[in-house]
Symmetry: C2
Subunit: 387 residues, 2 copies
């Protein structure tokens, strides 16, 4: 285990009815909120009204800013920053999934500086302060509700990049499993893959063999989340399964699974981000295509951990590690199929013809992700394995 | 899963050499610290000097207050409060195990009020504010370094009681596994039992069958901690095993394992606290005597979870739940024996003659613990099972 610092001052309000608390809490942080949401599903399903009722009751003003895309973009983020500044907003209330919350975080940082917010992403500037963010999570997937990360796609530079900094931790996150009842089977499956992927990549790729505590945490939470997702896609209104998926997604990406791991990477996220960036593929869909293929191609390199994953998560005792590692890939692909997530490029509308563009984008982004070993040859092999 | 609120703003500094950071951090919180430690082992092994060197370098003044007992007592806590007030200390620096940190927390609350600190324990008053506490943990056991709890024994009333409140979260906890190298085999074993017990009691006794995420977390961390303790008692200077034990102890009692559990109790802690209170038995020693006996006597009542514990922690697949539950008790006792922890009253110097006093104290305390069902009959059966 390597040295680490951990500080996660996000307050979590979990459970049915918790959204009612947001108004009173918001009043502690300011007078006027930028109220951010996406494409309007929160209007239709009444979640936004729960939030505005609570803000109204507490006398908190708000300016609506909607239209966040599934992969939030820099141009829209800039609009939000402009509006927050113009209106003198002193906090952000985000109502949505990871995209809405991530863009809200980027706005919260951008609203506090004179320079362009993308300077934080290109590494020119660091985030020193940000407006307080309170969020109502509507999709249990990205874990952004309990971390300091925010991923934005820059349409001009064709980059999908993330930053993780202390000031971007939300102040309070409201997690009501009921709000995910209306999430369709397809997006529930995508979310499930995303949650598992967050834990899986650090677990499999880290080079410190002594992170047994982290391994145990991750294996236990993964097992429970995988079961819960299976139930959620079958019965979307199963409160307990939705609750397990929601809380599992938060624990998956609250920083703890990664503490002390040493070197690790996000190869599957990197590959998937290029798909989202070029073809607007849903994040979870890209991950379910990428991950089993990546496991098979990389089975020898990550043999020890894939075999452990096979044993402790799928409870399959296979004595030969090489065989166990390959089996892990098969079992993971089977789980993806069972929940209805795509596992080939064709299932997300891509084909062999798209491989050159994807390869170009991935190899361009790989050094930024700290994985220059993902060169043309390896990326081609991986992409062809997804056909 | 039941509704919950979670907020844990403790900063953790983990790893070899992290104690060096304390001076600079302390300077952010105040000018003069009450420097609290126990019976002097931190003087002899040089840990205190690491702390004072860092405080000196940062220009932070301190007043030494030592002599905290293994089970910290109210009278000594009152002395600390008096000294902190007299000297105008604006923070507490605690150097020690759970006892030192718990007493430091109690002092931090008591130093901010005019009334006696025990009023917080008797329920007459609630803690609204406290001096900032920074701690250097020297025994990985109680988890106090990342929670708002503090347990104190009142010698006059013969009560050992705890409070858990938000203002008692330490500001920063410094976890350097190297400082536990000098902890002897016996106390390492006690600490190991304590860590497991923290996770085990909530896991086994809660009445919500849907806490699968919590179960997975707890099972994974327990498994890793149990392995680590076995290594630590054999090889006390194994950095990685000490690190796993230390981080495992923090995750065991940082509040997360208990979130959303519904009703649960600490019967083994309750029984053990009476042993500590009456005979000054080490906390972990009392737990290793109590826990396997409690499991056997209560095997039918907690059958489902004991069987799950047997399967997921000990990896023993026994199809009959009744048999699996009994087996869990046997396997847990075997683990206690392997690490060298006592499993009978005789091994902690008690005998049948002590049962009446113990029974009287336990049944007196049971309602305060919320477990009035632990009456004379049940307590007698449990205690006799420990002979």
């Amino acid at each position: 285990m390597q040295n680490f610092t951990y500080f996660n001052p996000v307050r979590i309000e979990f459970g049915e009815g918790c959204i009612q608390k947001i108004g009173k809490d918001a009043a502690q942080y300011g007078k006027k909120a930028l109220l951010v949401y996406g494409q309007g599903s929160v209007v239709r399903n009444g979640i936004l009204k729960q939030v505005t009722d609570s803000l109204d009751a507490a006398g908190v003003e708000y300016v609506v800013f909607s239209g966040v895309k599934a992969n939030p973009v820099a141009s829209h983020t800039r609009e939000g920053i402009k509006l927050a500044k113009q209106e003198g907003c002193d906090m952000i209330v985000a109502v949505g999934g990871g995209s809405v919350i991530d863009e809200s975080k980027a706005i919260s940082a951008g609203a506090c500086v004179a320079h362009d917010f993308w300077d934080f992403y290109s590494g020119k500037e660091t985030v020193k302060t940000a407006l307080p963010v309170l969020d109502v999570l509507t999709v249990a997937a990205t874990g952004t509700e309990m971390n300091g990360g925010a991923v934005i796609t820059n349409e001009e530079t064709k980059e999908k990049l993330g930053i993780v900094v202390q000031p971007l931790h939300p102040k309070v996150s409201y997690l009501d499993p009921c709000v995910t009842f209306t999430l369709g089977k397809q997006y529930t499956a995508y979310a499930g893959v995303d949650i598992i992927s967050h834990m899986l990549e650090g677990y499999l790729t880290n080079d410190d063999p002594y992170c047994t505590i982290q391994d145990g945490y991750v294996e236990g939470v993964m097992r429970a989340v995988m079961d819960a997702v299976l139930t959620c896609v079958e019965n979307p209104k199963d409160y307990q399964a939705r609750a397990a998926m929601m809380w599992g997604s938060t624990l998956a990406w609250n920083g703890v699974p990664l503490l002390g791991l040493g070197n690790y990477g996000y190869p599957c996220h990197m590959l998937g981000h290029s798909m989202s960036c070029l073809y607007d593929t849903a994040h979870g869909a890209s991950l379910s295509v990428v991950t089993p293929a990546w496991m098979e191609v990389m089975a020898d390199k990550y043999q020890r951990k894939l075999a452990k994953f096979c044993r402790n998560v799928f409870r399959e005792d296979i004595s030969c590690p090489k065989e166990a590692a390959q089996k892990a890939a098969v079992l993971f692909r089977t789980w993806c199929r069972k929940i209805g997530a795509p596992v080939t490029l064709a299932e997300i509308g891509l084909s062999r013809e798209d491989i050159p563009s994807l390869r170009e984008n991935i190899t361009f982004c790989a050094p930024t992700w700290g994985m220059p070993e993902y060169d043309e040859k390896l990326v081609t092999e991986l992409l062809e394995h997804m056909l």
